[in-house]
């Protein structure tokens, strides 16, 4: 997919560090590179604190970057100023996890959805604005009556639909979805995931879908990247990643998902990791995963593995999974 078309988004050796004090630096995102093709859904999975939210925000320019580059349709996102920056903001939007905190409690649903329309001067009259808001809400499966309600009057699933309507109001091409379903109940999660899938089909949206729920990511994404302590450790087409994971961390992660099939118990297939996640503070010596890796070798403790193509389209950062093996 990526080889056929020019990527819509290109992330090159992106780093986002936070300086904690004079001596300590937290490497939230460390040397991450990938591309997303137009119309593609790229899933990013990882456990809490792995840097996946920071990655999403840095890509959109909501965080400054420490080094590296983000190219959107060939243009440098972080170098854009003025009108160009505004244009980018219209083309790329974000949907956040907690729709309760991300919607202004004092604004009505109608005002929230219309905010972007006004900021980008997309509508010229009040009538046009109201019409667009109604159509958006209906497309999200919400009655236009919701226009006059406030966020607290809605359920979690309804609020998440409002969050998506707000993002889509300015007709973006690219959406970063940061844990958009993790606060929702199982049956509602399925509704929202279906909504994303149909939006992609109808509008040709490109999605960066960040989540910790590996099953939902699998369902929705074309390709999936695995983030561990700020670094991308594996990236592959979805079916490949889930059927033939190469990185020991990906394997451990996949083996820990409880299955709804009671005849496939975790105890029989699980790869246990030793120890807790180590700190992302300071420069890593060797592979980030080495302290917990069941297959660790002296080389791993000493040299950081590069992200290399182990088979066509399947990238992995592990000395043991390198193609020379």
């Amino acid at each position: 997919m990526t080889l056929m078309t020019k990527p819509l988004l290109k992330v090159e050796r992106l780093c986002r560090y936070f300086r904690l004090d004079r001596t300590r630096v937290l490497r939230a995102v460390d040397d991450v590179s990938f591309e997303i093709a137009r119309g593609e859904i790229l899933g990013i999975v990882g456990e809490s604190g792995c840097g996946k939210s920071t990655l999403g925000r840095t890509i959109l320019g909501l965080h400054p970057l420490t080094s590296g580059k983000v190219l959107f349709d060939g243009r440098d996102v972080h170098a854009a100023r003025g009108a160009e920056r505004l244009r980018f903001k219209r083309r790329a939007q974000i949907v956040l996890q907690d729709s309760y905190e991300s919607l202004n409690p004092r604004m009505t649903i109608g005002e929230i959805v219309a905010e972007g329309l006004e900021a980008h001067r997309i509508v010229s009259s009040k009538k046009e604005r109201e019409g667009r808001v109604c159509r958006l809400l209906e497309r999200m499966g919400l009655s236009p009556m919701f226009r006059s309600r406030f966020p607290h009057e809605l359920s979690g699933g309804q609020r998440q639909r409002v969050g998506i309507a707000r993002a889509l109001a300015v007709e973006p091409e690219f959406l970063v979805c940061d844990e958009p379903i993790s606060a929702l109940d199982v049956s509602v999660q399925a509704q929202i995931v279906n909504l994303f899938a149909s939006l992609r089909e109808e509008l040709g949206l490109t999605l960066l879908f960040i989540a910790h729920d590996l099953a939902m990511v699998r369902h929705l994404s074309d390709r999936v990247g695995v983030l561990y302590m700020g670094g991308l450790v594996e990236l592959a087409p979805t079916s490949t990643l889930y059927s033939r994971p190469l990185h020991p961390y990906t394997r451990a992660l996949l083996s820990s998902i409880p299955d709804v099939d009671p005849d496939n118990p975790l105890s029989g297939r699980r790869i246990k990791l030793s120890g807790e996640v180590t700190s992302p503070i300071g420069a890593p010596k060797g592979c980030r995963f080495a302290p917990r890796c069941p297959l660790v070798t002296p080389l791993c403790r000493d040299t950081v593995p590069d992200l290399v193509e182990a088979e066509p389209g399947h990238l992995v950062a592990c000395h043991l999974a390198a193609p020379s093996e």
């Binding site: 456990e47 807790e276 996640v277």
Partner: protein
């Protein structure tokens, strides 16, 4: 449903709560037994009453909570409803202990790990301090906390989420209760840590001969941890069955819909989502019809007119399988006599 062998027996439990919108009936005629050494899982979505059920068992309801006299909770043969608050305190911790979803807010940030783990011993036993410390250390080791001597003197903020949940479990089990109520114990944790904690609960269950009531919204966790599963919807237990039976042959349309909404490998692009939202639990509603009727894909006219009683489902693998659904009326479409539908 024999009452003798059960450690915990619940009959017709009802819980009412006062809210800003008026009185709510959050737990509705819930009955179940928990036997020695077994894990019973309550599955349901947010607001279905699963946590309030567990809190009622411990008599830890919010201040506005009310349990009518007709509700019966027998814990090791004692009627929990009739105990004084003082007697209840000895039940909590020594007979029945509870752990919660968020280990950070259940631990006191100003006390060291050691102090919190030994707290129950201080309240319930005359053991001297040195002995209490020894037991606490032993317990921290039992829950697999690394470097327990060091952890004893640390504060909760110095520990990861997984470690905090281990500390909470150690504190809950230190007075060797027979029953552990675990309310979403892994929901706030990462998937690898979740698997560790589920392992730990299973291991401790064997070692301490515990009966576990596990509450979760995650069907995967239920499949992993449970012996029996009961599904709650709108304050009621709508289906209960041995684990395999429930996953292989779910009888309630809600259970079926929940199972369908979980993504599985190799399926098409669309998940089969359940439309709509659960009903509110306002007092006036309920009783007159099946609470799931408005969302049900196999509803019949009767469903909107009368609440279904509980029916037995013939079970393939043995064990009791019960469901509250008119489809399973002996003469209903899926009933044992399997004739025409009810009108």
């Amino acid at each position: 449903m024999t009452m003798e062998r059960a450690l915990l027996s619940v009959r017709d439990l009802n819980v009412f709560l006062q809210s800003d919108d008026g009185p709510l009936h959050v737990v509705r005629n819930v009955s179940f037994d928990l036997s020695r050494g077994e894990t019973l899982v309550t599955v349901g979505e947010s607001g279905c009453g699963k946590s309030m059920t567990a809190r009622a068992l411990m008599r830890l309801l919010p201040e506005t909570g009310d349990v009518p006299e007709t509700s019966r909770i027998l814990c090791l043969g004692r009627d929990v409803m009739r105990l004084s608050e003082r007697e209840m305190q000895s039940v909590r911790g020594q007979e029945m202990a509870m752990i919660f979803q968020d280990p950070s807010s259940s631990l006191n940030p100003t006390l060291t790990v050691g102090d919190q783990v030994e707290e129950s011993l201080r309240l319930h036993t005359p053991l001297p301090k040195a002995e209490r410390r020894g037991r606490a250390l032993e317990m921290l080791r039992a829950v697999g906390l690394s470097n327990p001597e060091l952890r004893m003197n640390q504060y909760p903020h110095e520990l990861s989420g997984g470690m905090r949940q281990r500390v909470l479990i150690a504190g809950a089990l230190i007075c060797t209760p027979r029953i552990l109520l675990a309310d979403e114990p892994t929901t706030a944790l990462d998937v690898t840590t979740q698997a560790d904690i589920l392992d730990l609960i299973r291991d401790l269950q064997r070692r301490f001969d515990l009966a576990v009531l596990l509450i979760t919204h995650d069907l995967g966790v239920a499949a992993e941890a449970g012996d029996r599963i009961q599904v709650m919807y709108a304050g009621e237990i709508v289906e209960s069955a041995p684990k395999r039976e429930l996953f292989r042959a779910p009888a309630h349309p809600y259970t079926r819909a929940l199972l369908r909404s979980v993504p599985r490998p190799g399926e098409g692009a669309r998940l089969q989502a359940l439309a709509g939202t659960p009903p509110t639990l306002k007092l006036s509603q309920g009783g007159v019809r099946c609470p799931f009727a408005p969302r049900c894909d196999s509803g019949m006219p009767i469903c909107a007119r009368a609440a279904p009683p509980e029916f037995h489902v013939p079970s393939a693998g043995g064990g009791e399988h019960r469901v509250r659904c008119w489809l399973r009326h002996p003469q209903g479409p899926e009933g044992v006599e399997g004739r025409n539908g009810l009108s």
